[in-house]
């Protein structure tokens, strides 16, 4: 039973779910200040390429390369953040979408990124943890599980820990002065400014945090999929990340995470429908927008279940 549950297929999907959930958090952070930034795929690609190149060309260990990739995204976010965040709403969305395309075209034309051919043979997290585990004497597996399963589980656990840490951080942030400032800016930017909140500072901060998390997620995904090419980070990717937030609900951090979970699992569940798979997927998205335009989880939902569950437990 355990053995079939820990099938590498499920574990792999689990990894994609967690990566997408991390991306969901990254877009949630910018949305928390009411900024519609669609540069996440761009930041993701900067993280992915930096991390892949650092490990391949310079031999940097993966656990250093991934955060460095995140920092590279932060650097770029700082440079483009100041001019971009003078814009609002749709204008910002278009500017950041453009930024993502610019990054993609740059990677497409650079020699070091191997242009359209992309980078293959990226050191894989699975293999690396596998090596560590076999050095620990688990080379032949453990308790009926193969080495591959154990190392996949280990990677899954690492990703889960990263996600939980990010979640914890985001939740703490929400209750801090910074989080209150974010919420104030989201509610009304002019009013927030009148109350003495340095809106530029907080908007840039949210932008940079989002960029860092997207960069880290990009690095993680590069080291999980062996290969990256410019095509992996086009605007489809951005839209996909954005849909996590729209589908799950963007007011609470649980929304994008739930969105990422469901929308990553859905195409796999629908594999049985073969030809109709993407049609059903699309239909579900449309139905969702028609019946729950604010996303699956909103403050209302939480309040509703809280009172309902609260009443039941008091009986």
């Amino acid at each position: 039973m355990l053995n079939s549950l820990l099938n590498p297929y499920y574990l792999q999907i689990g990894m994609f779910v967690l990566i997408n959930a991390i991306l969901g958090i990254s877009i949630y952070l910018t949305l928390a200040t009411g900024q519609l930034s669609l540069g996440n795929a761009g930041f993701m690609s900067i993280g992915a390429y930096s991390s892949a190149l650092l490990t391949i060309k310079l031999g940097l260990p993966v656990y250093l390369a991934i955060p460095t990739g995140g920092m590279a995204s932060v650097l770029i976010a700082l440079i483009i953040g100041f001019p971009a965040l003078r814009l609002n709403g749709l204008y910002l969305a278009i500017a950041t979408l453009g930024f993502g395309e610019v990054v993609r075209v740059i990677f497409l034309n650079l020699k070091i990124t191997n242009g359209a051919l992309g980078i293959s043979g990226i050191p894989s997290l699975n293999v690396l943890t596998g090596n560590v585990l076999s050095a620990l004497g688990l080379g032949d597996g453990f308790g009926g599980l193969s080495l591959q399963q154990i190392s996949n589980c280990a990677v899954l656990l690492i990703l889960f820990v990263i996600l939980v840490l990010l979640l914890f951080f985001t939740r703490r942030l929400g209750f801090s002065r910074v989080g209150r400032a974010f919420a104030a800016i989201k509610a009304d930017e002019t009013a927030a400014q009148a109350m003495g909140i340095n809106t530029t500072y907080f908007k840039i901060l949210a932008f940079i945090l989002g960029a860092f998390i997207a960069g880290v997620a990009g690095g993680l995904s590069a080291h999980l999929t062996f290969y990256i090419g410019p095509k992996d980070f086009d605007y489809h990717r951005t839209v996909e990340i954005f849909i996590f937030a729209v589908f799950g609900g963007s007011n609470l951090v649980w929304g994008p995470i739930l969105g990422a979970l469901l929308l990553t699992l859905l195409p796999e569940f629908l594999r049985a429908a073969s030809d109709y798979r993407m049609m059903i997927y699309g239909a579900i998205l449309v139905a969702m927008m028609a019946f729950r335009p604010l996303g699956l989880i909103s403050e209302e939902t939480v309040r509703f279940w809280r009172t309902k569950l609260g009443r039941r437990s008091s009986k």
Partner: protein, 387 residues
């Protein structure tokens, strides 16, 4: 406004984790039956297919599927080891291809995999499948370095590194070329890889490159590049791109009075080229492993049957997929097992003197195909053999 107190944080994490687990368990219930090993008496080999079945490149995936389906029907009518094909769609996306491969390898327990369609997908899928010890064979993955992934990775797609030099060599011999101009689409991995091969082949033949011009996929205006090339008067122009751009390049070039031969990469190898470029396509050269009008009994039979079934002439993707399944099946017969992946790999690696519709076929030590390309010339709106 405190919607989730700190105590609820962990609860939230737990709920999400639990629902994830429940969902995957639910998916798990269906799995147990197909993993059972096939009985020896009536052997059935499960072969997975990862293909680009929906999205922008679905035409390729569809042709591959038709070629495979036809080969399967013919093989199952006569062979002892019956073949069961399990199709998974990759949508041309890397992550989808990875999920598909993992499903086929771990859940469906296939003995081998045919696909995926794109080289980029193979770079992502190859290491996983290779690591799991499952033979995988690409039918359309032409990029350099595919089989370097590992010893379980095969391809029967004629790599451009074989096709392009043979086209260049034939053109040089026939037209006594001295100077050439190169053109390629720089945002397409396939075209860039083809360009690199062109460059090498041209240099190896001792030709002088007078100009290298680039464009991008979906470009429609090539006048700047071609005006420059026209002024340099090369003996031939080599183009590496997909057929859409190639056809428009040809059209514009003829308009500008460039009458020299054009040598193309695999992108030229499509009837669409003549459809779009019309008479401008005359004189274009391309090396192809597949030539439907070839004077060969095998080819004729295949084209007839394909026409009867799908009402069109099979293209290169269909032909290579058709051969791929025959090669797989020959290897399965030789290994004598419908489930042993290692045996299948070894007998695949030993395939030689295989006669398919794309010609005589063998794998070299690097598991790349050893086969001959036919150089085709567009003449009167048709591909004809260039001799």
């Amino acid at each position: 406004m405190k919607l989730f107190s700190e105590g609820h944080f962990l609860k939230g994490v737990a709920v999400i984790a639990l629902s994830g687990m429940l969902l995957s368990v639910a998916g798990c219930g269906k799995t147990s039956s197909p993993t059972a090993t096939a009985p020896v008496a009536n052997q059935e080999a499960k072969i997975g297919v990862i293909s680009f079945l929906s999205g922008g490149g679905a035409a390729y995936g569809e042709a591959i599927k038709q070629g495979l389906d036809m080969a399967k029907e013919e093989l199952n009518a006569k062979n002892k080891i019956k073949i069961n094909l399990l199709y998974e769609d990759s949508r041309g996306e890397k992550t989808d291809a990875i999920n598909a491969a993992n499903k086929l390898v771990n859940k469906d327990s296939v003995v081998g995999i045919i696909g995926p369609t794109l080289s980029g997908e193979m770079f992502a899928v190859g290491p996983i499948v290779n690591g799991a010890g499952v033979p995988i064979m690409g039918t359309s993955t032409t990029a350099e370095g595919i089989t370097d992934i590992g010893e379980f990775v095969f391809r029967n797609a004629l790599p451009e590194s074989v096709a392009i030099p043979s086209a260049v060599k034939k053109a040089v011999d026939k037209y006594k070329l001295k100077t050439v101009a190169l053109m390629y689409s720089n945002n397409n991995d396939f075209a860039v890889s083809g360009y690199k091969t062109f460059e090498k082949a041209v240099k190896d033949s001792g030709l002088q490159i007078v100009a290298t011009e680039t464009f991008a996929d979906k470009d429609t205006d090539f006048s700047a590049q071609l005006t420059k090339i026209a002024s340099l008067k090369p003996d031939a122009v080599m183009v590496s791109s997909l057929y859409q751009e190639a056809a428009l390049v040809l059209k514009k070039a003829r308009e500008l009075g460039i009458k020299v031969p054009f040598v193309g990469g695999n992108g030229f190898n499509s009837p669409q080229l003549m459809k779009i470029a019309g008479t401008a396509a005359e004189g274009a050269l391309v090396a192809s492993p597949w030539f439907p009008a070839k004077d060969d009994a095998n080819v004729k039979k295949f084209v007839e049957a394909y026409k009867a079934k799908y009402n069109k002439v099979p293209d290169q993707f269909a032909a290579q997929a058709y051969d791929a399944l025959y090669i797989m099946s020959a290897a399965l017969d030789k290994s004598g097992s419908a489930t042993d992946r290692k045996k299948l790999r070894d007998s695949l690696a030993g395939i030689k003197d295989f006669q398919g519709v794309t010609g005589k076929f063998a794998f070299d030590a690097q598991r790349n195909p050893v086969m001959e390309a036919t150089v085709l010339l567009v003449k009167d709106g048709q591909f004809t053999e260039f001799k």
